[in-house]
């Protein structure tokens, strides 16, 4: 089993540390899935049985990294690792600090007493001093038996698919709403509107976003979903990854599926309805 990834571009490094931060906000432990061409982070719902995955982040590794090698046994040649997100995000934090610029980042799977994900960052300071910063993150290599639990995102026949033009605004509205109420209702309409509403004993708030592009609509079925406000907010924080396009698909009144298309990676997340 072998894994090594190297990158030299500063923009990608910045994105990687953003991603580490976002994962840290969402969950304590995250699963990293490695294949020959792809690297994906999977976030599972805490305390759920059977396992429910709420977020997938696929990275086109061959383009994102300058060097990307995965070697493993078996026909699919895959590696599954589970690691603590707080350590991952703090290991990458030196990529953001202003006074020294990172030259390269290497991520390797190493065996130091226990299996570790080693993050090796080469930094150059303003006056030309170079230093290397190495972090070892203990990981759990998941046995093949458990692999089947980490499937690709399920595909459904969605009722309505829309494209959101301004996720930042949606996020800031949801941020206010979560202070007022614990659940938020999302309701798309066939004429290009998305309504985000919440209500409590003292107040009802309904926000309508007009600039929504309808991609696909099948039938006139009701497709409003009522989701946990805090969770929706923490997922919408992915907006810092600066996606080019965001699509939002609704399945009846059951779930909503967000896809964030970024330059070299893609983030999927699912939220299911919470009944009143």
């Amino acid at each position: 089993m072998k894994f090594k990834a190297v990158m030299y571009e500063s923009l990608s490094m910045k994105n990687l540390s953003f991603l580490g931060n976002t994962l840290n906000k969402l969950t304590k432990n995250c699963v990293l899935r490695l294949t020959k061409a792809e690297m994906s982070f999977l976030v599972c719902e805490e305390n759920s049985s059977p396992k429910q995955i709420s977020l997938w982040c696929f990275i086109d590794a061959r383009q994102y990294f300058n060097e990307f090698i995965v070697e493993a046994m078996g026909p699919t040649c895959e590696i599954f690792l589970e690691f603590p997100t707080d350590m991952f995000s703090s290991s990458l934090s030196s990529l953001k600090t202003g006074n020294s610029s990172p030259r390269s980042v290497k991520i390797k799977l190493t065996n130091k007493v226990s299996p570790c994900l080693t993050v090796d960052i080469d930094l150059v300071s303003d006056i030309g001093m170079s230093r290397t910063c190495v972090h070892d993150i203990p990981v759990k290599v998941l046995p093949r038996l458990l692999w089947s639990e980490y499937n690709d995102p399920p595909s459904h026949n969605y009722n309505i698919i829309i494209e959101l033009k301004n996720l930042k605004k949606v996020r800031s509205v949801v941020e206010r709403l979560k202070k007022l109420c614990s659940y938020v209702e999302l309701k798309p309409s066939n004429d290009g509107l998305l309504s985000v509403s919440g209500s409590t004993q003292t107040v009802t708030v309904n926000t309508i976003f007009k600039n929504v592009l309808l991609i696909e609509a099948a039938g006139d079925a009701e497709s409003n979903v009522r989701v946990d406000a805090k969770k929706l907010y923490s997922l919408l924080c992915c907006e810092v990854l600066n996606p080019k396009k965001i699509s939002c698909s609704f399945l009846e009144s059951k779930l909503v599926h967000f896809i964030l298309y970024c330059d070299l990676f893609m983030v999927h997340f699912y939220l299911t309805t919470i009944e009143e």
Partner: protein
């Protein structure tokens, strides 16, 4: 939408081009949950009270509104000020200014706020409660004992040194220099700031004799928050020690609004009183 079809009769409607003008004022008086809302042909007054000792009112004149209609002499109700503030600041993070339309139909109906920012519309309905009687403090007016008018920025710096761990705040005003002294005392020590009436940021100082009043610092804190936003502050102490502060606040669109703040003093224990006075004189 349905409201527009049936054209309900509103007793109060208002329109503000930049909602931040309102949020700025309401933030200053947001120290308790419930606020009383009054509207008359002169504008809107929002009053917040705490334990029958502190009262803060924000006056929003009709000039802040681009449209303002009222069909009754006086409209009054209570509402949750935190909810009001959250609703008004819905688009605070946006770069564009949001406009606000405000509707109130009648007794028992919710206060409806419609905020518009570019292509996003928010419609909030805040439940209202019956207005309860509020405290009536007489403005010191003629009976004022000590009075000072100061620049907000100067007074802000003056109050910045307060020890926030203290339970009380003593304010002393007198004819002799230094004319204005504030004092706090906590386990960390005694902290005193004094200034004479010739200071650059003091515009006017009128004193009829020495007065020393003590206030609960927690009750004074909302006033400190308001000083930071104020352009001018009038600081008045009555003979009985009642504190009356009046703030002039400049909104983002350069209109003037007023906030008034009353705070009753607490009784100073005789022993403490003696020590403080003996140290001074």
């Amino acid at each position: 939408m349905e409201a527009e079809n049936t054209e309900p009769h509103y007793v109060l409607t208002g329109k503000v081009d930049n909602v931040k003008n309102l949020t700025q004022l309401i933030k200053c008086i947001n120290f308790k949950e419930v606020a009383v809302f009054f509207a008359s042909k002169n504008g809107i007054k929002i009053v917040v009270e705490d334990s029958k000792c502190v009262q803060a009112s924000a006056f929003i004149g009709t000039d802040i509104f681009t449209e303002f209609t009222i069909n009754e002499e006086l409209v009054s109700f209570r509402l949750d000020i935190n909810v009001l503030l959250e609703c008004l600041s819905m688009f605070d993070q946006g770069s564009n200014q949001a406009s606000l339309n405000l509707y109130y139909r009648d007794h028992g109906f919710p206060l409806r706020l419609v905020l518009v920012e570019e292509d996003v519309v928010t419609d909030c309905s805040i439940k209202t409660l019956e207005a309860l009687e509020i405290l009536h403090f007489d403005p010191p007016g003629e009976r004022v004992y000590n009075k000072m008018i100061a620049d907000g920025s100067g007074l802000k710096e003056f109050f910045a040194d307060l020890d926030s761990g203290s339970e009380y705040l003593d304010i002393q005003m007198s004819k002799t220099q230094p004319n204005f002294i504030i004092r706090t005392e906590s386990t960390a020590g005694r902290c005193e700031a004094s200034v004479s009436q010739d200071a650059e940021w003091i515009e006017e100082f009128v004193s009829h004799g020495q007065s020393l009043s003590r206030f609960k610092l927690t009750q004074f804190k909302p006033a400190i928050k308001t000083i930071q936003a104020a352009k001018k502050v009038s600081f008045q102490l009555s003979r009985e020690g009642l504190l009356c502060l009046q703030f002039v606040i400049m909104t983002e669109s350069k209109q003037l609004c007023y906030i008034e703040y009353y705070c009753t003093p607490v009784i100073i224990d005789d022993d403490d009183d003696e020590t403080i006075l003996s140290q001074e004189f």
